[in-house]
């Protein structure tokens, strides 16, 4: 059994970095824990669930998808657009982060293969960290996950010996490749892994999906969405939300076609050029969000588009909590 002292995680990060990996890890800055590129000197913060999800590193919030050289006299020619896909290890992703990967893989390979996503996906190794505790927003167990779930992960670190140690368990080839790269920071040894603390199961996603598929016009949505102020905090924090916008930006010499995150919570998301909006109010938008995750996704991809990480509810200024909405939906279905 490979183990590492929790206090030596930065050594592991350093070793992986020296082995040529870009290391992404949770770091506390300005009172907020955020997954970011790790550089020497940064402490790794394992306590809190980071505000951002891992998707930042697979599907960045803004990326150039096409370039054009603009000509002085008008007109353009296509220009090459280099893809940057550094070999990356995400150290300390949560199981609920890793669990998002199958859902993202599904949409980004749905008949049309999205090269930019897949290139990053292939270059990333996920070393997740089993959760030693859950807060009131966590609900992974309601959506098929677990605090020590391994879906999507290449390796998992399990807290042991009262948190002093972590047991490293490789799960895939990519995960095993970390062992030589870790260059001795992982030691052979034994440790007593802790039983992870699971949040209570709050609803049955299949029951929720059934109600959603049959109750599109329910008055429930108007009331349930009243508090929503229509920002994109939930979608941007979500490890699965993948909606995007394509926007051109240019100066005199070059146009860059950018893919930027977008959110179904925004009023302009579905607005037609004619002025017609299929989702004219926040209730339609909140319904889309919940329906996409618990009904449309299972229908199309046989997987939920929610991993129960709870980020959306943890961050929502208006207290919109998707697990609570699901609980209420389940009750309505009974």
């Amino acid at each position: 059994m490979k183990t590492i002292e929790t206090s030596r995680l930065t050594d592991l990060a350093q070793a992986l970095s020296a082995a040529g990996y870009r290391v992404v890890a949770p770091v506390a800055e300005g009172g907020v824990v955020r997954l970011r590129e790790w550089t020497k000197g940064l402490e790794i913060a394992l306590e809190a669930v980071p505000v951002n999800s891992m998707k930042d590193f697979l599907f960045p919030r803004s990326e150039v998808v096409a370039r054009f050289a603009l000509q002085e006299e008008g007109g353009f020619t296509p220009a090459t657009n280099e893809r940057s896909t550094p070999k990356t290890v995400v150290l300390g992703a949560r199981p609920c982060d890793a669990a998002a990967l199958p859902a993202l893989d599904a949409v980004f390979n749905w008949d049309y293969r999205d090269g930019a996503y897949n290139a990053r996906r292939e270059a990333v190794t996920i070393m997740s960290l089993a959760c030693a505790k859950a807060d009131e927003h966590c609900f992974c167990t309601s959506v098929g996950g677990a605090p020590d779930g391994i879906a999507g992960a290449d390796a998992i670190l399990r807290p042991a010996d009262g948190g002093k140690r972590l047991v490293f368990e490789p799960l895939t080839e990519k995960g095993r490749a970390l062992i030589p790269a870790a260059a001795g920071t992982l030691a052979e040894g034994t440790a007593a892994t802790q039983t992870p603390v699971a949040p209570p199961r709050r609803f049955d996603p299949e029951a929720v999906g059934r109600w959603l598929a049959a109750n599109f016009d329910s008055p429930f949505w108007k009331e349930a969405s009243l508090a929503c102020l229509g920002c994109g905090a939930c979608a941007y924090a979500c490890p699965v939300c993948h909606c995007f916008d394509l926007q051109d930006e240019s100066d005199r010499r070059e146009c860059r076609r950018l893919r930027n995150w977008d959110s179904c919570g925004f009023g302009l998301f579905t607005l037609h050029a004619s002025g017609h909006n299929p989702r004219p109010d926040q209730s339609a938008r909140w319904r889309q969000r919940v329906t996409h995750k618990f009904s449309i996704y299972p229908q199309r991809f046989k997987t939920l588009a929610c991993t129960g990480c709870g980020r959306c509810s943890r961050l929502c200024q208006a207290g919109m909590a998707i697990a609570e909405t699901c609980q209420r939906i389940e009750a309505l279905g009974r």
Binding site: L70, D251, R252, R253, L258
Partner: protein, 153 residues
């Protein structure tokens, strides 16, 4: 808006400041005209963008100029009381008072952002102003490295 982002070679010896000036049509632009017709010599570093009135100069214009690589921005219009539209420059003045404080807080201070009143009769003042601003910006150096709003893609 299509503007130029190409980097100007930044070595101190060859640095030529690129300064964007937003000026009103009635006073400062006429003052610049007068400077020209009077054959006054002044630094060639300023690109003038003429607008009807300082009241029409949206703070976004200034941010756009910095975003696209301006080393400095000058805003200039009619003296108080002289506005062609009676109060456009008074409106602008209050806006600029707030805006320059805000920009200074974010790192664009009065080495980079200049304001002036230049009337149609002040050709000499305009020439002196351009020379003075250019000299200050030259001294401050290229703005790329420390410009908080520079374009990055």
């Amino acid at each position: 808006m299509k503007t130029d982002t190409a980097a100007v070679p930044a070595s101190a010896a060859t640095f030529e400041p690129r300064i964007t000036a937003f000026v009103c049509n009635w006073c400062t632009y006429a003052g610049a005209d007068l400077a020209g017709t009077s054959r006054l010599q002044y630094a060639p570093n300023m690109r003038i963008i003429k607008l009807p009135c300082t009241g029409r100069i949206d703070p976004l214009f200034v941010l756009k100029a910095f975003e696209n690589g301006a080393d400095a921005v000058l805003v200039s219009g009619c003296h108080p009381g002289d506005c062609h539209y009676t109060s456009g420059n008074y409106h602008a003045r209050r806006r600029w008072t707030m805006f320059r404080k805000l920009l200074a807080m974010t790192g664009i201070d009065d080495d980079r952002l200049f304001f002036s009143w230049v009337s149609a009769a002040e050709g000499q003042k305009f020439a002196d102003l351009v020379n003075d601003v250019t000299a200050k910006v030259r001294k401050a150096g290229p703005f790329r490295a420390s410009n908080p709003g520079r374009k990055e893609c």
